[in-house]
């Protein structure tokens, strides 16, 4: 005659053991999963580097001249000058090898009808899409009409050469940054 009393112990013991073993096995054997949230740290680093590079260009070289290098470059529509200055500022390191951050810069302004438009400034290469980019920006106040140049031009396209658009404008220099 089988005594069914002992089966209770056995079953409960085996059940408890199985549960504990399964839990330990699964916890210890897990492989790491890369969650997309990790890119926050890289984004933050890129944003800090980019903002500083742009901000350093926006301090006038000496106080009595009043215009920062960035304002001078934008007023002269000097895309190549901006590329050289900003690339130097952005990818400079204390060691010997340089960093490799790509960028694309626009100027955002308000046109005569009140619409917000952008005009490109320069880019290290074109955006193909799929790059994970961070945006940094810097405010400037520029004189948009350059009457001394031949032919006179206005850096905001809608105004072309119309001198009635001349005068001070507030603009935002926006740069997209990404690593290849």
């Amino acid at each position: 005659m089988v005594d069914s009393g002992g089966q209770l112990f056995t079953i409960e013991g085996i059940a408890a053991a199985l549960i504990m073993l399964a839990t330990v096995f699964i916890i210890v054997n897990t492989t790491s999963v890369y969650t997309p949230g990790d890119t926050h740290i890289n984004d933050m680093q890129l944003e800090v580097i980019g903002t500083d590079a742009l901000k350093a260009l926006n301090y006038p070289d000496n106080g009595t001249s009043g215009k920062s290098p960035l304002v001078i470059l934008v007023e002269n529509a000097d895309g190549n000058g901006f590329y050289t200055a900003f690339n130097n500022s952005l990818n400079n390191r204390t060691g010997d090898n340089r960093d490799n951050i790509q960028f694309m810069a626009n100027i955002t302004y308000m046109n005569r009808t009140g619409m917000i438009n952008s005009t490109p400034l320069n880019a290290s290469r074109a955006l193909y899409g799929g790059e994970h980019a961070v945006r940094v920006s810097q405010w400037i106040i520029v004189d948009s009409y350059n009457g001394a140049a031949l032919p006179p031009y206005n850096i905001f396209p809608e105004c072309l050469s119309a001198p009635s658009c001349a005068g001070k404008h507030a603009a935002l220099v926006e740069v997209l940054l990404w690593r290849d």
Binding site: F9, E12, G13, A16, I116, V136, W139, I141, K168, E174
Partner: protein, 127 residues
């Protein structure tokens, strides 16, 4: 049916129960600790420190422009600042003309910034 000594068997279950709970507790600790680095970086990106500095500097600079001409002058530039800030930086910026004190030596500028998450108010004195 034979009466079993239920309590002895329940001890086994209870021990298994305790072990599982402690594993669960450790797992929760590990899970919370990995979020620390991530949320610090998020907090840095979330707070618009550079946006506020940029808007504040350009507003102060605009206060010293000439109010000449009927199109491109201080009021127009300030309107542009407010519109561009709203469109591109999702922030409402409000500032007023300076208020002078009784002697006329000091002027006070009030600057407000609000991007929905962070708000910034300043009274800037010049000189």
């Amino acid at each position: 049916m034979a009466r079993l000594s239920d309590e002895t068997a329940q001890w086994i279950v209870l021990m298994g129960f305790i072990v599982s709970f402690s594993l669960f507790f450790l797992a929760v600790m590990l899970n919370q600790s990995t979020v620390v680095g991530q949320t610090t970086a998020e907090a840095v990106s979330e707070f618009p420190k550079e946006d506020i500095r940029g808007v504040r500097n350009v507003v102060i600079e605009s206060m010293f422009l000439d109010q000449e001409g009927n199109f491109n002058n201080r009021s127009h530039v300030q309107k542009e600042i407010e519109n561009i800030s709203l469109a591109r930086q999702n922030a409402v910026v409000y500032f007023s003309d300076p208020v002078f004190d009784a002697n006329g030596t000091y002027s006070y500028y009030f600057i407000h910034y609000n991007n929905g998450v962070s708000a910034y108010n300043e009274t800037w004195t010049f000189p």
